[in-house]
Structures are given as C-alpha cells and as structure tokens.
Symmetry: C2
Subunit: 919 residues, 2 copies
C-alpha cells in the first residue's frame, strides 16, 4: 500500500480523481502539477493512514522512509534544505478531507523554524521582524495544537496571549504590529518556557521531530469535538479520515517582486465570463483575508506585473477548461515566481450559478443535464426577490447599522417604517407608506396587515412559523424569530442591541441573511419578477430572465413529477402559473375568510346556536366563496385545482381581545358576553390536536356542504365561460377511513346535486390529506375511497415527531447544535421517521388503489432535498408556495437526472453480476 | 336447507348449540323444549334466511309450506286455531340475533287478532277491555312497524297517540287505564282509518297475511338505523342477520290462577345461591317492567301457588345445572299452567360475578379457568370502591335529587361539601370536613387539593383527562366531563338543572354511574379495601375478600405477563403491592414536586438565570427526591422500580395568576415581574408537543443528573438497610436514538459515580418510553441502547391520532356516536392505528436487541381489552394505577387462557391440514 503521494515539479503521484485518498486539497495540488502548473512542492499522506493511525496509534512500516523521500523531493524541487540555517526549507502541514471542512481541523505553518533557521529566514527576507513573528506564531501554534497548551478553564485567557499582553503593557503599546523583532524574539523564549512548565516537554528544535508531531496532531484533529460536530451537521461520514499535506512554504512578502492573491475564473457575483480577483503586493495570504490593507483588483496586476499576470491568466484559462467549472484559486508570487497554492470549484451567487451554467452550455463546455445539476435549486430564489442596492447595503454595514440577525424566513430585501400591528400596517399602506410589520409573532388575524406590509419581522417563531409560511406564500420578505429584539406593543416600540426603534422609524430587513438594519436601504424588484409577474420588462431586455427561462425549459424536458402551487387567491395563482405551476395543490379556503365581509359571516356561523343559525350564516358565505374559487379556476384554466375544506380550529376566527369582541358584538347583534363565552368554550390546550380539519366537517356537515357547493357552482360558472375546470376536493386531517367516508358522502352528494342543477358534467376528484400518522398506517383502507392523497408533511412532522411547529424553536436549535437532528425537520423532511410513514402510506395506498394520485403540499414541497425524496417514493407531484415553484421545478428535474445517473452507474455492476452468474 | 325449526311440546328441531342459526332466544327455547320444560310452542325462522331475504327480497321455495307446518305444530300443541273466532291462536313475532340487541329490532304481539277473533279473546278472558286494548296495541304496532305509519317530521307527534289523546280529552280523563273497552274498540276503527289514509293500504284482517307482513318487518328491522348503530358500537358483524320467532301467546292476566314473573337462579346483586325473583299475579309481562304495580318476591309464590312454585323451582335448578351458569328467566302462568318464555345467562354485579364463579368451582360445576373467563375484569373494580348505602341511594333517586350525569371516571361513591378550589379543599379537609373538589378542569396545581378531597367533579374533560387519571391513580371517586353543570369560580357556586349549589353545600357523586346527587348519601369502604389496604378487617371475616383472593391466586398460575403499578408515592406503592403489583412500571417524579418545599425549589430552578442557579436549586431538591425514591424502593423490596425523569413542560410548575405570582416572588426573593415574564416566555401553543420530556434533560442536563443521583443515592441507602433494590431509569418522549444516547450518557455516568462513591454494586437498567410515532418507526435504532421500553400509549395515541386528550372530548362523542371509532381510543387501545405502531416497535426493537424488556404504562395498561392486545404483541408486563392492578391481573390471565383456547381450537384444524397434505 502506498501512503505518500508527491506533487510539485512537473508531475505528481496522484490526480484530481483521487479525492478520496488525497482529500480535495491534495488531489487538486496533484492535478495542477500534472497540468504543468507551478505549485510549491510537497507530498500528501493518504486518508487511509489517518483512520489506521487513529485506530492503532501506530504508523505502518515504511512510512517514515517514504516521508523522508517526500522531504527529499521537496528539497530537490526548491533547492532548500530542511533544518539548514542558511537556506532553510520551511513547510506547512495542513489537513485536507474529501470535502472541505473549513477551520475545523488544525494547520501548522512555518514548520522547520528553530533558533538557527530563524536567522536564515531573517537574512533571506531581510526582515528580522517578520522572521521572529513567524517563529513565535509557529511556536505558539505548535504549543497549542501539538502540545496542548491552552486555557485550562473557561475563565482563563490564552496563556500565550497573556505573555504578549504583558510585553505590550510594559511597552505601553496596544497593537501586535507595534512590537519589534527583539520583542518577538524574547517572547519565543518565554513561549518555550511556558511549554516546558505546562507540559514538562521541551519544545523540539529538530525539524523532523516537529514534522512528526504536527502530522500526528493533524490526524488527531479529525476527531476533535468541533470536527465531529461539523461532520454530524453536514452528514460527512466519520470514517473518511483526513489527508495531511506537507508543502513547502512560499512567501509573498519578500519585497516588491512578491505578492499574494485570490482569483476566480468568472465573476462569482454575476457569473460574467471575466477573470476576477484581487491581490496585495508584498503580503502574505493572511493579510488579504484580515483586510488590514485594501487589496487591488486583479486587472491592476496586468500593469504592475505583466509577466506574472499573463502566466496567471493562462493558468486560470487552463484550469477552467480542465475542470469545466468556475475555479476559485489562491496564488503567491515569491520574488518574481508565481506559485499556485490551491484551486477549487468556486462558490457563487444564484445569479452567477445560472449564468455560468447556461453560458457553459452555450460554450459547449458542458451538457444541459450537467448544467442543471450544477444549480443549487435554492439559489433560484435570489432571482425572484427584490434586492438591496449593493452599495447602500455595504454602507449600512460599515456604519454599524445592522441591529440584529434573525432567521432568513422570506428572502428578498425590504425597507419601510416600523408598525406593530396589522391595523396600522393597513392604514399606513393605504396612505402609500411602505411598512415593516413587526410582531412578537403573527396569527391569521394579521394576514391583511401582512399583505399590506413590504416586509415582516417577528421576535418569535422559526422558519416555518405562521409568519414565515404566509410570507413565503405571499412572496413577502420576512425575518422571523429575531430573538434579540424586544417588542413593547403598549409603548409602540422595540429595543434591540440597546437601541430603541419607535413606530414610524425606518428599518430595512434582508430576508436572505436575516439582518435587521436601522434606516433606509434602497431596494428594487428583480428582473425575473419584472418580466414574469409585473410584465414591466420585455423578456428580451433581461439577460437574467433569458437564462432562467432556458434552464426552466430544460428542466421540464427531464422531470417526471410536476409542480403545483399552494395558492389561495387568484393573484397568487396567476403568479404561480407565470412561474410554471401546473395546477394548484392546496387552496386553504380559510385564508380567504379574513377578506372583506367573509369574516363577519364566519363569525356569525361560529356564534350560531344551532344548525339553522349556522346555515343562515353559511348562506351569506356561499356567494363569496364561489367567487373566490371561480377566480382560481379561471387562472388555472386546464389545470387541476385542489381546494381543501375548512381546516383550522374555529377559535382562530374569533377576536380574543375585549375591544374587538365588543365591536363584533355591535356589528352582528349578539352580546359581547356571548362572544367571550364562545371564545372560552372553544379554547383548546393543544389546538394542533384539537377540533379542526375534517373533525369540523363531521360535527358540522353543513360547512362541508356549503364549501363543496361553492366549489362546484364556481366550477360550472367558469366552465360556462369556456374554460376547462378540474376541481379536486380535499378533506383534511383524516386519520380513519370512516372520517373520509363521512365527508366524501357529503361532498359527493353535494357535487352531484350542483352538477344536476347546472346541467353540466365534469371530471372531479375527492381526496384527502395524509397528515396524521394513523392515516399513513391505515392507508390501505383510506386509499379505497380516496382519488388522491396530498401529504401534509408540516402536520405529519408535528405529530410523528411530537414537535409543535410553533413551540419547537425553543429546543430545536439545541437539537441541531447537538446533532440530534441534522436539519430542521420542518424545512427538510425527516426521512428516517416521517419519510418512513410517507413511503409506507404510498405503498399501502397503491396496493388497494393502483390509480391513487399522490402529492405533497407541506412546506417540504418547495425544499429541494425533500423534493428528491418525494421523487424517490414515487409521488406524482409536489406543491409549494408560488415563489418556490421554479426551485421545485429545478429540484424535480435534478431528482430525475440523479436517478438516471444512479441507474446508469448501477448498470455495469448489474452486467458484472450477470456475467458472474453465467459462469 | 332447513329454514323452520319447531319448539314446544316435548322436543324441538334445534338446540342451544345452534345460536348462530336460531339466535339466542330461539336456541334457548329449543333447548328448554328438549329438556322437557314447558315453553309455549312456536317455531324459529333461521338467520340465514334473513340475510338471504335482505339481499334478494324473496323467500326461498318451500318456506311458505314449512311455515304452514310450523303453524299446524303450534295449533296442535295449544289446541287453538289461527283465525278461529271461538278459540283463536294468537302469536308473537320477535327478532332474535346471536347476541341480544335489546330494543333495537321490532316485536309484534297478539298477532292473529281481528274484528272476529277479538270477540273470542274477550269471551275467553271474560275481559273485553283487555281484549280490545290488546287489539288496538296490535293494530298500532302493526301500523307503525309493518306499514310505516309514524311521525313525518321531528315536530309531529305519534299519529296514533294523537287519536288516543283526543278521546281522552273528550272524556276528560288523563290515563290510558281510564279508557274502557268501548273506547278502545272505537279507537281500533280510527286506527285502521288512519292507516288507510296514510298508506292507502287496508289493515289486513287475515291472520296469515298479518303473519307474513310481521316476519318481513322483523327481517327488515335488522337494517334499521338504530340496529346498525348498535352493531357498530358493540362490534357485532352486519352479516349475522336475525332469526324470527313465531310463538303462541300466553296470558298471565287471565284471573287469579294466572301471573307472570322474572327470576334468577342466584342473587344477581350478591351472587348468593338462592332462588331469586319477583312476580305479579293476574298480570302481563309489561306490568312487571312498567312498575305500575309492585311485584312480590318469588318466595311468596311458594305460599300463593305452591304447585307452580315447586315446578318453577325444579325448572330453575334444572336450567342452572344444565347451562352451568346463573340463569335469568321469564315465566308466565296461564290459568294454572306454567310456561317458560325465556332463559338466558343472567347479568350480574361484580360482587355476584365473583361469588358465582368461585362458588361454582367449589360446587364442581365448572373449572378454575372457566371461572376466570366468566369474570369481566372491569367488575373487580366494584370490590375496591366505597359504596353508597343502597337504601339511601334509592331514596335519593326517588326524591329526584339526581342533578346531572357525567362520565364515571373514578369508581366508587363519595359524599361531601362542595369546594371550588384546591386551597379550600385542603383547608376544609384539615378541619376534618369531607369535600368534593369541583373544578371546570384540574391541573397539576390542584393535586394536593385532589388528594385532600373525598371525590372530584369536573365540568370538562374525558375519561382520561387530568382529573380522571389522577383520581384513578389515587383511587379517588371521580365524575368528569359533567357538561350540564356550570361553575362560577368568582361567585363560588355552580348551577345545574336550574338549581344552584353553593360552596359548602353537600353533594354526593357516584363514580360508577357518573351521577351527581344533591345532599348526603352515606358511604362505606369496601370489604376488600378493609382487608388489604386498611387492614381493618380480618381476611377470614370477609367472604368477598376470600373469593377475590382465590381468583387472584388462580390468575397468577396461568398468566404470562406480570403486572406493575404506576405509583409516585410510597403509600401508593404499598397499596399497589397489597393488590399484587410486582414492581412499579412508572413513577412520575414530578407528581412529588407539589409536595412540601419541593415546589419552591422547582420554581427557583425554573427561574434561575443560568446553569449555576439551576444547580443551586437542584441541590435543594436532591435530598427531597432521594427520600421520595427511598420510600418507593422500601415498599417494592425485591421488585423493579421504574422512575421516569422529568416530563412535563416547566410552565406547569409556575403559578399563572397574579396573586400567587406575587406570593412566590416574596417567598423566593425575585420580582413578580420576572415571574410573569418567565410564565410568558414559557407559554406554549401546544404544550403536548412542546419543550418537555427528554427535551428538558437535553437542554438542562443538570436536571437529569440530579434526578439520577437522587435515584441511585436512594437505591444505595435502601440497599444498606438490607432490602433488594432494582432501579430502572426511564427517559421520556424519545423520538430519536440520539436523544436517548445523550440522556443515557448523563444517567450512566451519574449512576456509576454514585455507586463508586457508595461502594455498592447493583443491577440497574436504563430504558425509554415509546410515546412518539417516530420512536416506534425507528425502534431498531433505539433498542440498541435501551434496556427496556415502556409504551406510553396515552401520548402515543395523542400523536398517532392527532387527538389532544384534553380537547378531544369536543368531537370524540360525535365520533363514537357515528361509529368512526367504536371505543374511546384513550380508554381502549386503537389496535388498527396505534396498535400497528406498538407491534412494529416491538418487532423492530427485538430484532436489534432480543433481550429488550417491553411493557406499557399508559392508562391502557389497566384496560382489559388493551391488556389482551399487549399479551398478543408479546409484552413482558403491563403497568397501571394501583387500584386497577387486580383488573389487570385478571386480564393478563384471561389473555393467556384465551390464547391457549385458540391454539387448542386451531390444533384439530392443523391436524386436518396435515392429513390432507399427507393424502
């Protein structure tokens, strides 16, 4: 077995294909070597060895010798010598796993320095201060990482820093930069004493002893707490291990002919195909990152170091052509010689991702399928959201106006005056003011205020809180669960970070980052929205839209599932359709109940003493609901529309404060006392598990009857207008086939009545939501009388996990931090638990009803990873909020593509099995 | 195929074994005939024909002729003739299913009467009034049942009764008994007119036409709404069908040598082996039931009709010997001739059931296994509860003092002064007053008040509400969910049935029936309690206890599962053990938190700002919890004790009203504002799905740590006292193996620490509750690190069904009425849904951990049908509240016996299969 892979010079032992063995960094260094690109020479110790060493605590035979050869290779390629006092070879020792785990494991720089070689470095660089600063950094890191000298309790400061602080105090200076070579030299001695006192071990002056200590420390760092937690969080297997890269140090701070920089083969923000980056002359890599000096744009390098620039430009072209993707590179120039330190696939914004993917297809670098797989579907969201003016945002950050950070619950950017209740939001919006509705949390009563606001900010609630759900459905910017703000409704103000924000003060919220910013930051709608939703921009005028449309078109050609939208209003349906939704997967009729006069009729129904009273109120609601549904049917001409019967508990529709109760009493002519009593009567300890869903329709069949009548009267009306209507009635919260039978009977009877009255025949379906574990467990029974299933995975997650969506924020963060759940199960479906029930429900259901149509309408329907799961378990469609339709379309396409790739990858294996079998 | 089975005379075509074909009534009539017991002759049309007729609407060939033969048989045996005007044969036509469905289907009496035969009846009885009253009743019933003349709307009165009322009004009389022969005669004519007008059909004078109409009506009544609903409710298959019994009428009202009565072979109330019953001379069966005349005890018959009595006594002895069970018989004496109209297994109280079963074993009539299977386990409860003095209760009912009826949530009888809050309950109890704690609903804050009260009455909540659960565990009488009472806490009164009951007024509640009675009804503790729990009665002095103990002993000899108790306090553990519990299956530590100074420490912990503050408060709690646990361990010497770590959400421990908050603030030295804020911060929308169970221990490991330390310090202490302690730590609400791993780590570390400190080694287990669907679904993972599972089926039912136990009362009654659920799923486990998860969890769990011990600690652990399910899915034990231990013991024995019977029954079938296979 081979453990050491050399790189640098003109060829390497490894290649980019060997990431599993060499880690990402090592493999790419080898690949660059093979391409003839100058990288500082070095060698990689393979990941296999890491796991072996962690298990046995021993190195395999021959390793020491192999590593010696590796060192000789480096010495040969650099002309330097390890431990040589005149021309010392210094190396870095870095971790490098298959997947980058930034900052999780240990790195040691400048290894090889000791009391002798440091003098060599000082002479070579003509910079004793730099040499001794490097030396003390090395000793400090080595003491910490290899020898374990670190604070012994939470209260203790870093013991090395304590020593530095003492020197600074004595010299009466504040900054490290104010210390001189001599100071650092003395500190090196003190550091060594500290190490001796603390550990009993003398700091090793011998470079090879230093090297083996560092290698062991890097291996061990694979199992430090941080790294384990990170792997849990990112679903990285614990048995991968890390490689160790030992590489010659190069210095960009050796004078005017030196420098260092970071570059991208295309613009990572816009995706534009231009060489992009920045550099600093006479500087080390840390200086670029630390931002002490302002780096210069890469273009300037062409003027300052034309030869270097030309080389670098050639390398970047070569690398992109070779990797066929945008690269993110680090380079250093040491005394006029260019070294490439790293190349990797570059991170990019959604705008850039799409532009690069589509352009590379046009450039014939990659195929369409590859282009689609390169997009993070979530990134498409960026193309739909209003955006802050980049300059203004930067300015605000610089001015320290960022007040707090909450959850990025509804992406985009919004700016407006703070209001603390829905009524004020509407009032001010009516006057043309832009407002940010700021609430401790929101409830259905706030919906009109949310619709009127430019953005929504809440103090409590998670990514799937009421505020977040409604905001995303409305396409509103939302920052939720911003626990650092403290709202005082009474005084109409909030305090945050010691500052007070009063009603009417401007704030800006960034739904993509969760930032809350004081004052105005200008925004504008995205190009895609201007084309699709507003129609205010011609498609041909928008490059962004053009590429977006191409991708969407390609996705439709490969997908198996289709995408519907959750939409309650014609306007939402229109937008959803413009984004490519092929039907409505969920219309929550109750979302219309707060519109216009509906709420009064609803409340009258709730307060009625008997069926007769309820029917009287429902009769008022009927024409309004009919119009609601007709609007949806018109927009969805030719596509199915699933309308769910009443779902929330009735108390959600009654006012809970005395003042509004009194107003309502006067309006509908019952006593305020009666309203109060009704509110108390309807109070529930756990409304989530209470009198809601089909339970309402079973207690009050007249509600189901009226809603179904409204649906079919609307369907007939719109059919007569010449449109194609496909109504689907959905009964919520079924857990027992007998519930569905009861409600199906009511619905079917009513539908037939209306169709007979209207003399119209049409295809319709009656189905149910699967959102209670019992429904999935008894799905074989339920499917016998259901035409379709829509998985309500929000509620199914609540019940299967026993997590209240509204309350789980309190422990869910702890849970994710501790790795109990790797994802918020309300954002990404919990495949091990909830997923088992989903799959079981589909399997049992299709056993008794092979024609069963199955979809999902929970928030997961717009989450790419969950969409892939839906594809795998054989759903027919996913339904999500209108603004997530493009994301879901891309995710369905990717799911189909990945399945295809996996089955193609499995083919040779199958063939092999067949061959073996034949033998 | 034979459809008609004759009986009466000296032999019958059928027998008692043919219940499926002949129905219960028909089979027993045939059996009595075969035994030579005089029954009025008749014939039974088999149940097969019913289903056939309901499907096809036709009778099979030959039926008419067979039935004619049946009629000739009756005529021959009675000497009367169908349709004969001088000596008319009258018959009854009755339904009779395999299982009695009292009052659900139709019955027609006196069939054969017409304008001619009525004169014959008048002459034969010398009682024209009786003859015409019988005639009009027949016409009325026939018009209703066969011809469908009944009210056409809810508002219409019965049209026949309207006619009767008119006659009474004209005659200015009030009672039917005041009408004379001539009046009834006229009414018969009017009834016939009504029938003609309403239906266009002339009332058939021809007896055989009457007969076929009646037979058809009885068949059809199998599918009337009432019967269908009853079958759903009682799990009777819809395809059984009913038989029809056509039988000669006999009349007990033909003079002084006639009479009628009901008798039992043993006393159905006490089980005493004495002939028991009552009769009325010169009367019909209805008169006994209607209670117009007071019947005489059967002993008096010996004096009044010595020959008849002797015959009857011989018959009852014969029937009991034959059926080997207590019989409930109806008889009629017609002109000195005794006729038996019915015999069936008699219903009995719990006291009687046990006495009869044990006595019959002593009498060698049945074996022990048969005796055990004869007990309804639920009936054992009666033996443990205080009882109302029978005479006083009767008096109260007679005086109309029954105010309302709620759910019989905690059996027994209690009387006391009404109080409306826990504080008053304690105050008055301290003064020696007996109180009934009356609340809209109860919460953990009420526990001390509940403990102080003699009984608990709640306005809201079901059989498994907080009040009901705690009451049953405490062995308190409880009537829950009594929706007819309206409590006004402010005015310290309640209104019910228009009456006002004020604080301090006496009421009595019957937890066996749910009745709420005004005033005092005297109670006394049961004998079994006097022996076992109080020790105030010597076992030898109680016949009830003697038999109870025998049954319990027998049950232990056949059972496979064992029974533990849910007990939180030493006293509960003591009682549970005296009832035969072999360990504690659930100690809810938090139930102790309201005792003494604990609550202050708990509140201090909740209000602490950081871990340090929490640890300080926990340190105060530690010695108290240690004493709690030590008490349990002492009582359970030699048996395992499962202690669950903290489960409820923390807000349950904080006071919610301003006054108590203020008091607490002063007591523990924090501001009332802070307490209020904490309460608000901890508020949850769905506490059931909130921050509770192991989620608390994961956020605050120091809580788990302290509790586990208390457990093991107590275990060591009691071990040192020379007792055998088997502690088992149970982590609640686990849904993910990583939660259990986290908490198991804390628990195990702490346990080892304590054992090392104390220098003691002991066997202990760490396990979890399975109460979240996800736990069952991922049980293969969880079982790998769990030593035991306890199914928390209360919560598992809540989550699997999406039913909040506290709120579901609102729709659960509708659900049961509509047959959506046949049982309250919180009382009897929902086998189709929750049961699937339970079985899956056990199967998956034992796959990865074959040694896994499995039990149940939800309320279902004390429900006999659920216990049988637990046995079937292979649990090791069930755990229930102390007072249900005897019930559970009997249920586990029955489950084992039934399994044995089923496997024995399956053996011949298996043999047959084997034989066939051999061929």
């Amino acid at each position: 077995m081979k453990f050491i892979y050399r790189f640098g010079g003109t060829k390497a032992d490894g290649s980019a294909k060997m990431k599993n063995k060499l880690g990402g960094k090592g493999a790419n260094l080898a690949e660059m070597s093979n391409l003839g690109i100058p990288v500082p020479p070095g060698f990689t110790i393979s990941t296999d060895l890491c796991m072996d060493y962690l298990k046995t605590g021993k190195y395999p035979e021959g390793l020491i010798e192999e590593a010696e050869k590796g060192l000789r290779h480096i010495e040969g390629a650099t002309g330097k010598k390890f431990g040589d006092s005149a021309n010392p070879l210094l190396v870095s020792v870095r971790s490098g796993a298959r997947i980058s785990m930034p900052g999780m494991m240990d790195t040691i720089l400048n290894l090889g320095l000791n009391d002798e070689t440091v003098e060599g470095l000082a002479a070579l660089t003509s910079n004793p201060r730099f040499a001794y600063d490097s030396y003390r950094r090395f000793v400090q890191t080595y003491g910490d990482v290899v020898l374990g000298v670190r604070p012994r309790s939470k209260d203790e400061h870093d013991p090395f820093e304590v020593l530095i602080d003492k020197v600074k105090a004595r010299k009466k200076v504040k900054l490290d930069t104010e210390l001189e070579a001599e100071d650092w030299k003395k500190l090196v001695a003190k550091f060594k004493e500290l190490i001796k006192t603390r550990t009993g071990v003398t700091f090793p002056e011998e470079p090879s002893e230093q090297l083996w200590g560092a290698i062991e420390a890097v291996f061990r760092s694979w199992d430090n707490e941080r790294a384990i937690a990170y792997r849990k969080l990112n679903r990285i297997p614990h048995d991968w291990g890390t490689a160790v890269n030992v590489q010659a140090m190069v210095f960009g701070n050796m004078g005017a002919d030196s420098g260092t920089g970071v570059a991208f083969t295309r613009d990572p923000a816009t995706g534009e195909n231009r060489f992009y980056g920045e550099y600093l002359e006479n500087a080390q890599g840390e200086d670029v990152v630390a931002g002490v000096r302002t780096p210069k744009p890469i273009a300037q390098l062409e003027r300052e170091m034309p030869v270097i620039y030309k080389k670098l430009d050639g390398i970047q072209r070569k690398l992109e052509s070779h990797y066929k993707d945008m690269q993110d590179m680090e380079f250093t120039v040491e005394r006029g010689k260019l070294w490439m330190l790293q190349t990797r696939t570059g991170k990019r914004t959604g705008f850039a991702a799409i532009r690069i993917a589509v352009d590379m297809v046009d450039e014939k670098k990659i195929g369409r399928n590859e282009a689609m797989l390169r997009i993070e579907p979530e990134q498409l969201n960026q193309l739909l959201q209003p955006v802050f003016d980049a300059g203004e945002k930067r300015k605000a950050v610089k001015e320290g106006r960022v007040l707090a950070k909450g959850l990025p619950a509804g992406p985009g950017a919004a700016t407006g005056k703070v209001v603390f209740n829905a009524h004020d939001a509407q009032e001010r919006a009516r006057k043309g003011e832009k407002v940010i509705l700021t609430r401790i949390e929101t409830s259905p009563e706030d919906i009109r205020g949310m619709a009127a606001a430019s953005g929504i900010l809440t103090q409590r609630g998670g990514m799937t809180s009421h505020a977040a759900l409604v905001a995303r459905q409305m396409g509103k910017v939302c920052v939720a669960g911003c626990e650092d703000i403290l709202i005082d409704y009474g005084k109409r103000k909030m305090t945050v970070a010691g500052k007070t924000v009063k009603e009417g003060d401007f704030i800006s919220i960034d739904g993509a980052t969760g930032e809350v910013i004081a004052g105005v930051v200008t925004t504008r709608p995205s190009e895609v929205i201007q084309v699709l939703a507003e129609g205010s921009l011609k498609p041909s005028k928008s490059d962004v839209y053009q590429r977006f449309a191409k991708l969407m078109e390609w996705s439709d050609q490969v997908t198996r599932m289709h995408v519907r939208a959750n939409a309650d209003k014609p306007e939402q349906a229109r937008i959803a359709r413009s984004f490519g939704a092929r039907g409505i997967g969920l219309c929550r009729t109750e979302h219309m109940f707060f519109e216009g006069a509906r709420i009064d009729a609803v409340r009258e129904m709730i307060l009625a003493d008997d069926e007769q009273g309820r029917r009287k109120a429902l009769a008022k609601l009927l024409p309004m609901q009919r119009e609601d549904f007709a609007g949806l049917f018109r927009q969805m001409d030719g596509f199915p529309v699933i309308i769910r019967t009443l779902d929330p508990p009735l108390h959600e529709f009654l006012p809970h404060d005395a003042k509004t109760q009194k107003e309502l009493a006067e309006k509908i002519g019952v006593s305020a006392k009666k309203i109060k009593e009704k509110v108390e009567e309807l109070h529930e300890f756990n409304p989530m598990l209470g009198h809601r869903g089909c339970r309402l329709g079973i207690t009050y069949p007249e509600i189901t009857e009226t809603q179904v009548r409204a649906i079919f009267e609307a369907a007939c009306k719109v059919t007569k207008e010449g449109k194609k209507v496909i109504p689907e009635v959905m009964i919520p919260l079924v857990g027992n086939v007998r519930e569905l039978r009861d409600q199906r009977d009511v619905a079917e009877r009513t539908a037939k009545q209306v169709l007979t009255e209207q003399g119209i025949d049409m295809h319709y379906m009656i189905g149910t939501m699967i959102e209670i574990p019992r429904a999935a467990l008894t799905s074989d029974e339920i499917a016998e009388i259901a035409d379709f299933y829509s998985y309500g995975t929000n509620d199914l997650t609540q019940t299967t996990l026993g997590f209240s969506r509204d309350d789980s924020g309190r422990f869910l963060r702890d849970y994710i931090n501790k790795g109990i759940f790797t994802d918020d199960p309300f954002q990404t479906i919990d495949q091990q638990g909830v997923g088992k029930l989903v799959a079981l429900g589909i399997e049992l259901g299709r056993e008794t009803n092979p024609k069963l149509e199955v979809g999902i309408c929970g928030e997961h329907g717009g989450d790419p990873r969950s969409v892939e799961f839906c594809h795998r378990v054989g759903m027919n469609y996913v339904s999500c909020s209108p603004f997530r339709v493009p994301i879901a379309r891309m995710a369905t396409a990717q799911a189909a593509l990945r399945e295809k790739l996996a089955s193609e990858a499995a083919k040779p294996a199958k063939k092999a099995v067949k061959k073996t079998a034949k033998k």
